[in-house]
Symmetry: C5
Subunit: 367 residues, 5 copies
């Protein structure tokens, strides 16, 4: 658990101090560097043909002649500002778009520019060992006949989409840039379900431990999961607006069929948020179970104390009584004297314990 709290709020905000004061539109990479070398892949496709190229460096890409209807350029690794600038120049992107791509701590948002739209999204991956949801940023730019995608590192999320593109008859080949954009966003939102499922399985393991009174550091664990859920929820929440706006994108970018598909992703997003809400309520009830455990233990402790005191206190008095040095004391001379006292001690103890349980029953009945 210690390791978990290493992931700190302050960390995710690192570098802002260095950025403050720079003019807006400066391309400053904010975030960890997650790959050593940016990696650029290009899909140039129409319904008939598809060309797939991977560039070693940005200079290589300069000489690529565009051939097909739709172009998908994917970049892994965002810290090389030279790459960014070159792509920006080639596709005529506004400096603010490049700034947003490089700043990997964006909220999900849709910004419309002249001739293209910028979409920022967050992806999640669940680290089952650290019980941690790890978040990356994906930036998408939708132009009339191109889609640019920028990721912090390869995630494998878009592999199924690539495979569908590679199939000659795939419907995706006809759909143009908007259908490709939908496919990418759909892949990201589908991944949310996987992450939430894994997270909720972990929370239920914790619930079982709590119900069995076997959780190791309950307060910390509960708080850890609560924060994870809040963080994911906060990242996904603005996506609703993004997807609602995507359905109403002006211009000829979207066919009415693509609109239906975006409405479908919108519904999925709402669904994920509802699952997160249910999970949040579950976490809330875990806290109550934990408090009930704590109360039960304290009650048991005090009860034990009461029982021990109730058994031995009168016995102490009895033995003290017959230890007094009065010259005239009853039964001192009788051979059965000490046995009588022992019997009295046992009797008194039993009586008081009975009274104690009766009282507990009485309190329960009348509380």
């Amino acid at each position: 658990m210690r390791k978990r709290s290493e992931k700190r709020l302050s960390k995710s905000r690192t570098n802002y101090t260095t950025k403050a004061g720079r003019p807006p539109g400066s391309i400053v990479h904010l975030g960890e560097i997650k790959v050593t070398q940016p990696d650029i892949t290009l899909f140039d496709y129409g319904s008939e043909n598809l060309t797939e190229v991977t560039f070693r460096s940005i200079d290589e890409s300069r000489h690529y002649p565009r051939a097909q209807d739709t172009l998908w350029l994917n970049v892994h690794g965002l810290h090389d500002t030279r790459v960014m600038e070159e792509i920006g120049r080639r596709f005529g992107l506004h400096p603010l778009v490049l700034e947003d791509v490089a700043n990997t701590q964006q909220r999900a948002k849709l910004d419309e520019y002249d001739g293209y739209s910028y979409v920022a999204l967050r992806t999640f991956r669940y680290d089952a060992d650290a019980h941690d949801a790890i978040s990356d940023q994906v930036s998408l730019v939708l132009g009339k006949n191109f889609v640019l995608s920028f990721q912090e590192r390869p995630s494998g999320l878009f592999e199924p989409t690539r495979n569908r593109l590679r199939q000659a008859g795939s419907s995706l080949r006809h759909g143009g840039a908007a259908a490709l954009l939908h496919a990418l966003i759909d892949a990201i939102v589908d991944q949310y379900f996987v992450v939430v499922e894994a997270l909720s399985a972990d929370v239920e393991v914790l619930e079982d431990q709590l119900l069995a009174g076997k959780a190791k550091r309950p307060t910390e664990e509960i708080n850890h999961y609560r924060r994870e859920i809040q963080e994911i929820r906060r990242s996904i929440w603005p996506l609703r607006e993004v997807l609602a706006s995507l359905q109403r994108l002006p211009g000829s970018h979207l066919t009415s069929d693509t609109q239906l598909y975006f409405r479908d992703v919108y519904d999925h997003t709402i669904h994920v948020i509802e699952h997160l809400d249910a999970l949040r309520e579950l976490i809330g009830s875990l806290f109550e179970i934990h408090q009930a455990n704590v109360n039960n233990r304290m009650n048991a402790e005090i009860r034990m104390l009461t029982v021990v005191t109730t058994i031995f206190a009168p016995a102490t008095v009895l033995t003290g009584f017959f230890g007094m040095n009065f010259q005239h004391m009853p039964w001192l001379a009788q051979p059965w004297g000490w046995q009588l006292v022992a019997a009295l001690m046992a009797g008194l103890g039993t009586l008081l314990i009975t009274a104690l349980f009766w009282r507990r029953w009485w309190v329960r009945e009348n509380s």
Copy 2:
């Protein structure tokens, strides 16, 4: 109670992992298979005639010639994708509709398509033994002159509607597809009242047990009911919007009279939600009653401890006093010595207990 928590959040999300990565519009059945064999029934009716057919398989249905004004096709069991595809082809449904029908974990929603509308709803059944609200999905498709209904398993919910259709003079026979849609939704919403009533009876049994201090596992029980209520509420909540939109459906689907009936169902839905809110508040107060019980018991425990200590501690000192081996001690030689001590012990105990009760009264007066 253990058995109750078997119904897990994670379970209801099962299979998402297998679905992630598939292209949208794929018909993948998400959910438990609840009947072995899909079961297809058809009502083909006008104000005069009614034909009722049950098909053993989808192939059989191919040769059925449509005769009357309005058609109602009901399917139980959604895991056979061949059936889905055939119906989709016959009625010209969009692949997303079929995907939504097969995915039995939808939120209530209304999606409008060209020429028809898709409505997803959740039904509830209350398992009185497990104190569990069991939820199924019902999908409805409203076309100009047909209604399709898809259920996970036979529920008996639509039986009264079928009987009304079978009666020659029934107003439902004239109302067309929209009136039939209303009848089906009305049947589902009426069932909500029944479930909420059963649930609230169970919660009141729990309240009685708590007030009598006799609940077995209070925290767990309270949390169980709270989750049930939240789950039902979450399922019904989006239905408000669905019904509000149904009143404003464009095109010639709805007569103004049917609009009035949809407004009526809308009111009922609001009413159910208000009952659930009242129930949720009741659950909240149950938690407080439980905490009061816990506090009362701990107080009683500590009071017992104090009483026992207060009675016997001074007695112990007294007996110890006269057990000291001083050569000069008062009263040791008197025959009434030990009786005096016994009297003193009783007196001191009484005095202290009195002080204790007086103090309690004093605290109460001044707190």
Copy 3:
């Protein structure tokens, strides 16, 4: 208090199970039967004349010839469906209106129909002995020149309105149906103030008891009032919308002066809701006072225990010390030996009690 909780949530929902499955528009009386015989009164009035008739049965009313401008028909008792049907037929009411009138568990609402509007409202009466707000439903139908009112039982609420009608010069006689509707709603809303005032007086009695530590069953009492307040609030809340809509009723039903009067009732309703909110906050603080009481008592209990232990524990050790059988012990032979020990016991006790109080002060200073 036991009796209070007899009024159960489930009870108010009784009969829904029997209703589920019936076609919409069926007139089924939901609720308790509160009068044995429906009672029909008719006011037929214009600015000049007024005829007041009471019918023994619905058949009697058939032969009544309408004479004046405005008609007010009031019905007490809603379980006789024959009466409902006859009135429905006479005034051309939609079956859904009759269903809503008979179902006495409606939310406040305004439904507009062709040529008339239906208003459902809840009245309250405060049973000061059971500390219970008792709720009835009033249904009002406003037509161009008639008002129908349906109540579960005579409440006396409309008596002042009747008296104003009976006065020849009353402005109400000229105002038409809308002014009469306003008068009836105004009477109902005025009654809310009376109920909230009574309820708040009772809550303040409870507050006094809590501050004096003399409440009998604090948790139960607090929860009882909280539920009463929530229930009234929930009933009145939708009335805001009803009254806002009434101000904007289309058609020639309302004069601009009547609109002003409806705005006035609207303001009153907001005012009642604010009083209920203040009351709800008061209830919240009662709970905190109660918890402070509980904590104070437990603290006092533990303090008593500590004091007793602190006084007698060292004394016990002292007496034990001089009860040891060593041959060489100091002071055993001195005549003042036992007095010294007694003095020591008293001294030690005093010292420890002083330390205890000093510590408490110290803790208070530094906490």
Copy 4:
């Protein structure tokens, strides 16, 4: 503090019972009578001249001939319905306006009538001794060239406005009725800051007492201030809407400059509300400080008990041991025997206290 709770919710609602059932528009004075004799002052002014008259009775005012552009009539004391009726007749006020003026428990509101607008506001005065915010109602009527103001008693609030009017060159003299209305509302809102400042100073005194553990009746005091804040906030909240509407008043009542001034008052109102919100949060944290105090004290109490028990329990056993009557016991004959036992007692006590503190440290490290 006792005296504080004398100001009761129920009191502020007094008389509603007597009013219920009366026709709307009846002028019934609701509230305490705060002055014995209504007091009517009139400012009749233009940019050049100003006439200031005070009337002893309403009859006197009948013969006053209006001379200047703008008229300001101020009334202190609202219980004399004859005065109200006369003013109503003279300025052509709607009966509902007069009813609202007389009912001194209005929410802040703006009602527009033909040719004039009615504004209800609440003023506050802080009674520093009782720590009580005392609220009065001010009613303002804005006509084309007159302002009427009605107060429950003289408050001195409008004195600066009167002085500005009396100055010949004052800009207020040219501004017409709307500028005067603004001046009056501005004076009232400025007073809010003063009250909130005084209240917040008192709350901070309480905070200091709580931090020092010296508050006398913490729960009661905290609740008192919470209610005061809630009550003020509830009174000021609707004023936002009033002021927003005033900026958009139709007709020629407002110059664009006056609109700017009303926007300014609007900003002030928002500001007061934010201060109240900050104060409410402060109160919330006071409650937590108080609870921390309570917990600390209980902990200290139990710790004392544990320390005392831990020191004396083993000593008791030791002395008892050497008080046993066995014929063969070690050290009984040694002269240093009792000293050894005393040393053992001290040693054991020290050891156990050390263990206790070590354990506390251990728990702290690992909790």
Copy 5:
């Protein structure tokens, strides 16, 4: 920590009492005087030239002839009303603007006037020693070709903007007044990130202390940070609306490119608010960790008490038993008698401690 609470709510409201009653539009400086001498700097620039002048007094500035396209006048220190009045006269500012500039306790707001707009903002600076966010007000006035900025004291925030202006080729030189306004607001919002980062680092230090059980005054510290966060959030929250309105400013003030930049600052503001929300939730969980610590300590205390009592109570009874003066007692004559008793004491103690731990385990299993 004591020093922290010196920063009081009441302080920030100081002087309101003195202002109440003054006519609106009076320039009254509300707030601390933070510099002794107002300091006026002027940037007069176009794309080609830039003149930078600093004035010693307001009189000096009178003779400055304006030369270039765009003018930026910056003032530090707001308490000299003569300076304010002169600037107001020169730029034709409304008295309300000057009043708002001088009142340094404004909410963030945008007020549009004829020909210019007034923006009030709050800047923050984090005092790492006092753990305090210190807030100043910045007022900005945007005219067609000028920007006025008013600060309470020099903050260094605008230095990077000045440097960018001084560079001949900077894009800022072409952008006109709106671009300059954006640069200034952007600098302020960037600073928010820095402050929130520092604050969140401090909160995490506190979290570590709490988890280690080493926080000194947990309740006070947690409340301190909660208030800081609330205060910052409350200051930034209205900025959202300001920036949303700035994007829609009417007139020719804004180019479409500047609108994009304002949208960018808007996004940053939302981002800061989300970080503050995350921080607020973190604070909430700190409180729970603290409460868990308190509970753990009390549990440990009571457990210690139980253990001590359980070990020594039976031993006391045993020794007392053999200290009784019966003539016939078993084992008194045996030489191994006292050893047997010692063994019994040890045995009983062990047994009871074992029972105690078994019981604790049992409670944990079944709670």
